[in-house]
Amino acid sequence: MTRVIKYIFYALLRTRFILFYTVFLMVSTFAMFQIDSDSSKVVLSLLNIVLMVVPLISVVFTTIHFFNSYEFIELMLTQPVNRKVIFFAEYTSVATSLCFAFLISIGIPSLMFGADRSVITLLFTGITLTLVFVSLAFLSSVMTRDKAKAIGIALLFWFYFSLIYDGLLLWVVYTFNDYPLEKVTLALIAFNPVDMARIIMLLQLDISALMGYTGAFYKDFFGSYIGLLFSVFILFLWIIVPLMIALKIFSKKDL
């Protein structure tokens, strides 16, 4: 497996995309620290990047990479190499390089300008979201043979979780606002990794007070150990489930 990973890493580094991604994130983080000296405000601005840009880059990059390495995958499969090994090697190398880029580019400026606990949460949510969306992108890549279609599906995932789902959730809350919806929304949020990440982060920033009673309820829930475990578990499921479905499809796929 390590041999296969080595070659995939080699191919990833050649594209230089990861480098651009790192530089882009680092420059924006630096810029934000320069503009604002209040680190919690900076973290809030960074949160928007993490919630929008990181998933987008993750899905697009992963899908493009998968289709670019189609030849490599095909070649490996004519050799004594396990299909599962190839699949996990691809996942590990793409996910590792994206996570590493994220960690460096947000982590280093934060350390330089003084980090508090919220930065660690930010890093955690960013990495989790990267892993989740790399999984989803793998799923979309193995679902079709057509690169354009796969990127389309991957973008749809991003669009759905970043924009559409929130719209639907708002609609539900608005329509049923006569009923107590705290627990319902809590359950609904679990179906969207981006929302999960956002709430975990917002509660860290002590602006939950702005969210009124619901905020207090969330704070109560996510502040507790069970809530924390619950959210980590749900995000973990969001990584594993799409990945396992993708693996199942991949191991029966005709190449």
Binding site: R14, Y70, P80
Partner: protein
Amino acid sequence: MVSFINIHKKFGKVKVLDNVSLDLRPGKSYALIGPNGSGKTTLIKSLLGLVIPTSGEILFQDKSIFNDWKYRENIGYMPQIGRYPENISVGQLIDMMKNIRPHQEKVDEELIDAFKLYKIYDKKMHSLSGGTRQKVSAALAFLFNTPVLILDEPTAGLDPISVEILKEKIISEKLKGKLLIVTSHILSDLDEFTSDIVYIFEGKIQYNNTIEVLKEETNEKRLGKAIATLIRQKELLNSVLQ
């Protein structure tokens, strides 16, 4: 050594392989022939595990190949269209293949020398012509001294000198007692290095016997004529049956 048992394969609604059963024995060399799109490459790819049959079983040395991958250590494969990572050089590609099979100590670099591939070691794969690519494919297929060799249209696209080099290599490997599976449309080539004919048409095996028997049956001396006669007979039979 290799057995296909009732293999069916559908791509969507199209039936590509229809109840194919075939026994391939070591020491023999098989020519897979049939018109374009008759299922030859699909059959080969299903043996390599690149295509998963809809139903049926494939045995390699009496063990099912499904969910197995180790058996591929025994197979050297030369694809019809060699698709390789475009951004790496020929040398890197060959090193990579050696690295993937670390247990293989003895490598056979005869073809690399014969095709003078070491001269283009630092050329990138995407800059290679179709014929050169084919040479790389051939060199990789023979690299590991595997007991089974699968060659999908080995001589298509090669220049006459290289064709002769490759043919010589194929014949010498055949004489070592390896199992050879060759598809080709150049029947005179097949006459030189195969002993058995497997004729596939529309996903079904229509004929499977030695070349001598085929020639006797059709009263022809040349393989090309013999196969043409065979196909005509089959067509006649089919039209009568319909």
